[in-house]
Symmetry: C2
Subunit: 177 residues, 2 copies
DNA sequence: CCTTGTTGTAATTGACTGATAACTAACTCT
DNA sequence: AGAGTTAGTTATCAGTCAATTACAACAAGG
């Protein structure tokens, strides 16, 4: 784990992992490139050089999060191609709280055209993917996504997923499944 | 509409309305108190003096948004005390897109303890209120909130509510109701 | 009319932060 | 070996922004 020299692509991956953590905690405007650099173990200017601008890094981070969700769904469908199986996969993703919170920050930042375009594209893609993988109807897929969004905001609030704060109403909701 | 002298409380209300707009568009860190002041038609230092700090203003804004949602639910329940009636009320709230996006920003900013505490308290309160007003079971209320969250993120993405971008997958979801 | 409290502003500041520039260190391929 | 490319750093700037201070306008009561 000593300080190694990596290719730009490899280092970029590491920076992206750090960016998921950092953006997940504080959102686009609230995160400093310096913090991402610290987490990735490189200098702040290098982060900028790898991705051009902070916004491009944020967009790349959103893409990575969506990729990971789609991968998880595809792998789940290989085992069992129904909504319950994908649902289980999503719950496992919740173990990395920040991953899903990055998604939320993306939705909330959709007023920025570049962000909005990407987020709409990817969210629509996930909806389509869910239907294709499981053969679900529009209504079934809608309910699936709705549940996913509820779990995501609950994870963001810290009342679902690991290390979650104990909260009567949250337990009641989670027990109702 | 000339420049009037208002009491601090009255002016505070106007600033809060402006804050809903501004925070809804850019979130806590992305919004400048200067922009809120401009929207409210007062000077930036006065905004700070009215609320102490930017964070306290953000918290007050979250409270106001939750108040408006609860008011809308209560009024809807007076007419007809079932989930369909509250759902209709929520859809009407979506006309003010920023209102709901402020909520989303609150969820996403829950890592900040002061924000997280407030958001958990209010979201739990809304869940309880929904059950009390309609007599819904935990499962019914959960599905109701899940649908609400999906609509909220779709509004944030600009694919639901007024002036929404036309998007095949979004139409498919909205038509499935 | 004048004094006291309140509403409001202009000017400023000091800390922060994304981005650039200039440079150094390491790998690669003859 | 050494020329050229790629990975990475230090130093720094230029702009931004929340917050403070000091002051001005206005109202109301005595």
């Amino acid at each position: 784990m000593a300080k190694t020299r990596l290719t730009a692509a490899e280092r970029g991956e590491e920076v992206l992992d750090a960016a998921v953590q950092a953006f997940g905690e504080a959102g686009f405007a609230g995160t400093k490139t310096d913090e991402i650099a610290r987490l990735a173990g490189v200098s702040q200017p290098y982060v900028i050089r790898l991705f051009g601008t902070k916004q491009q890094l944020f967009l790349a981070t959103e893409q990575r999060v969506c990729d990971r969700i789609e991968d998880a769904f595809r792998r789940a469908a290989e085992k069992k191609a129904d909504l319950a199986s994908l649902g289980e996969a999503y719950r496992e993703l919740m173990a990395e709280r920040e991953l899903l919170v990055v998604l939320l920050h993306g939705f909330a930042a959709s007023r920025e055209p570049a962000v909005g375009d990407a987020v709409r594209e990817r969210f629509g893609g996930i909806y389509k993917l869910v239907r294709e993988l499981t053969g679900a109807s529009a209504e079934e897929a809608r309910e699936f996504l709705a549940t996913g969004m509820l779990l995501t905001v609950m994870a963001a609030m810290g009342v679902a997923g690991p290390d979650s704060i104990d909260c009567p109403w949250a337990s009641e909701i989670l027990d109702s499944f």
